[in-house]
């Protein structure tokens, strides 16, 4: 009998809570525990095909699906925003498969799944931040072979990364890496913060929230427990520095936040606004206003 025979159509339509079968969840859960026990180490896991494409957040979705329960409140962001299409699509996926409550408010979420940003609102103990990671291996673009990079991690041989950063300095006078800027976790593993702008790197350091990273296509899970030391690689004479914007958010007036550049007309007009939409909306609701506020 095929899966499409009469009376069997529901078999296709009915999935387990949070989509994944229990065996898959157990496999991911075991990988998560190992990742937490060895902060920054990439644990191989038998990533599954998901109903969204590889590269579109399948790793983060699998991690969230393995941890989420009926009492959770989920927030999903992409580029810092709750209303980008892929964030909407992933949020809907979990609404349909778990029925959990969702929110856009960073402070109210127990699980936040993110792509490319860490929220501006500081996270608190008990919250879980799930990163979608495309290429989990920080050494990949210096050495494409997994067999080689695994040995480099095993031997704690990270010279090639320092050489790369130093070549930047020699050539440009400063480090020319602006996102996916490598960090060292608890003094041991060089780790990819996922392609967040380096602006967000300091937020990873001694963060009270649990940070989980899922790379579906590359089949790796890693973790940074709360309060863990996360140091961006640098040199004594060229210390790590984050991007600075020379103006505040045009809508809420926030300074010291990451801004998106928005093109407003075809004559070169542009404005800079918060990438974190929740942060920006909250500030505006509190009465803060930028120069182009409503």
């Amino acid at each position: 009998m095929s899966a499409l025979d009469a009376g069997n159509e529901q078999v296709i339509a009915t999935y387990n809570f949070a989509y994944l079968d229990e065996q898959t969840k157990r496999m991911i859960r075991r990988a998560l525990l190992k990742g937490i026990a060895v902060p920054g180490y990439q644990v191989p896991f038998a990533s599954r095909e998901m109903p969204m494409p590889y590269g579109w957040g399948t790793g983060g979705v699998q991690v969230t699906a393995a941890i989420i329960g009926p009492d959770d409140r989920l927030k999903v962001i992409d580029q810092g925003a709750d209303d980008t299409t892929n964030a909407i699509s992933i949020r809907k996926f979990f609404e349909r498969t778990t029925g959990v409550e969702t929110t856009t408010a960073t402070a109210e979420a127990s699980i936040i799944q993110t792509r490319h940003r860490i929220p501006e609102t500081p996270l608190t103990a008990g919250q879980i931040l799930v990163f979608q990671v495309p290429i989990p291996e920080p050494l990949r673009f210096l050495e494409p072979r997994e067999t080689e990079t695994r040995t480099m991690h095993a031997l704690e041989e990270y010279g090639v990364m320092h050489v790369k950063l130093y070549e930047d300095i020699a050539r440009h006078g400063h480090i020319a890496t602006t996102y996916a800027y490598p960090v060292k976790v608890e003094g041991r593993y060089v780790t990819d913060p996922s392609p967040t702008p380096k602006f967000d790197n300091p937020k990873m350091h001694r963060n009270p929230a649990l940070q989980l990273f899922g790379a579906g296509r590359e089949m790796r899970i890693y973790a940074i427990p709360p309060w863990t030391e996360v140091v961006s690689l640098d040199f004594e004479d060229h210390p790590f520095e984050v991007q600075a914007f020379d103006r505040p958010c045009a809508l809420c007036g926030a300074e010291d936040v990451f801004l998106d550049e928005v093109i407003t007309d075809d004559r070169g007009g542009r404005m800079f606004v918060c990438s974190d939409t929740d942060h920006c909306n909250r500030r505006q609701a509190e009465g803060h206003a930028g120069e182009q506020a409503a």
Partner: protein
């Protein structure tokens, strides 16, 4: 005043509605039935089953319909469904020596027991577009062989008798094969895991990789020892029974490539094997798979690693079209946060270069 773009959810819903409309096309044209796809686009169904790693003709047909004929999209649909299925157990190895053969050819021998059996092949068709087919002409009734024919001995078994062909791997050496759908891949891989990855690898990618070995990038002197297409019996061991329980029959294509080999420090001169096994009728894929399998055995056979097709990590990591299409297409997703970071950097570096040039000019004046 600037208002941020909203309404993403409505936009997504509308896009899905438009997709459904375009998929259906002109309503005056009859809706395509899954039976039509299964019967008349059967090689597309076979490809979706093999690369989707799910043997179900009807679901494959549904996937093709849903994907508007985009086979990689259909393969993705099949995989995403497959991944949710519970796993009841593993079948016994299929015995292709007992295959009910519909096509069997060997390029190594003029004739052999069982004969050369062309079967339903494109091979000697003249590739002339056929207006009669467009008109829906009914085909003639073909001659078919008695389906209860005795098992046909494999060419590799003849060659093995003389000891000139390396023996097939002994199942006892690895009683429990790997399962790439359950275990994360790690390099270097054993051949069983590698063959699993190749069996669901992208046909086009394997075709190009196999082709490259024929053009001298790790030449392996291949001969199509045998290609056979037909049905094999699936059986599963049930602890409560003292015989293997039959599950049914599936159609597969098997290619045994025989490669001349001059010997190395590790192995004597002999013929070696490259192996391809694919769901359904998929001759091109099985041949390409066999060429790539043989190339990837370079380390095992003590050959020099000189070419892309011999590079296990390169080939296996890039052979899966569901992974590849996902990551290539993810570039459509917003990346404006990272782009903003790069924008700032490029502006800063340009300003630095301009400042340096100005200083230089002032000094020269």
């Amino acid at each position: 005043m600037y208002v941020a773009v909203k309404g993403g959810e409505t936009a997504i819903d509308n896009a899905h509605k438009l997709l459904a409309d375009r998929r259906r096309g002109n309503r005056d044209v009859a809706d395509l039935g899954l039976d039509q796809i299964m019967e008349q686009l059967s090689l597309a169904v076979d490809r979706v089953m093999s690369e989707g790693a799910l043997y179900d003709r009807e679901l494959a047909a549904l996937a093709i319909k849903q994907a508007r004929g985009d086979l990689i999209e259909a393969i993705f649909l099949a995989r995403a469904y497959r991944t949710t299925l519970p796993r009841f157990g593993y079948t016994q190895p299929v015995d292709t020596g007992r295959m009910q053969v519909e096509r069997r050819i060997s390029a190594c021998f003029k004739d052999l027991p069982g004969g050369q059996l062309l079967g339903p092949t494109f091979d000697y068709t003249h590739r002339l577009l056929d207006p009669a087919l467009a008109g829906g002409a009914a085909p003639e009734t073909p001659e078919v062989r008695d389906p209860d024919g005795a098992p046909m001995m494999r060419v590799s078994d003849f060659l093995g008798q003389e000891g000139l062909l390396e023996p097939a791997p002994d199942a006892a050496d690895k009683p429990v094969p790997d399962d790439i759908a359950r275990n994360p891949m790690s390099y270097p891989m054993d051949r069983d895991a590698r063959l699993q990855a190749l069996a669901r690898g992208d046909e086009g990618f394997l075709l190009s990789m196999g082709y490259s070995t024929q053009r001298g990038y790790a030449r392996s002197h291949p001969f199509a020892g045998e290609i056979r297409i037909g049905e094999v019996e699936l059986e599963i061991a049930v602890p409560e029974l003292d015989f293997a329980a039959p599950l049914g029959r599936i159609q597969v294509t098997e290619c045994q490539m025989v490669n001349q080999f001059q010997g190395s420090a590790k192995a004597p001169p002999q013929f070696t094997r490259g192996y391809g096994l694919v769901f359904g009728q998929a001759e091109r894929k099985s041949m390409a798979m066999a060429l790539v399998d043989r190339a990837l055995r370079a380390t095992e056979l003590g050959e020099d690693l000189t070419a892309p097709a011999q590079d296990e990590e390169f080939v296996i990591a890039h052979s899966d079209n569901v992974q590849a299409t996902g990551f290539v297409e993810h570039l459509k997703l917003p990346h404006y946060v990272d782009f903003q970071s790069e924008l700032n950097l490029v502006r800063r570096m340009r300003a630095e270069v301009e400042a340096r040039t100005e200083t230089h000019q002032e000094a020269a004046e």
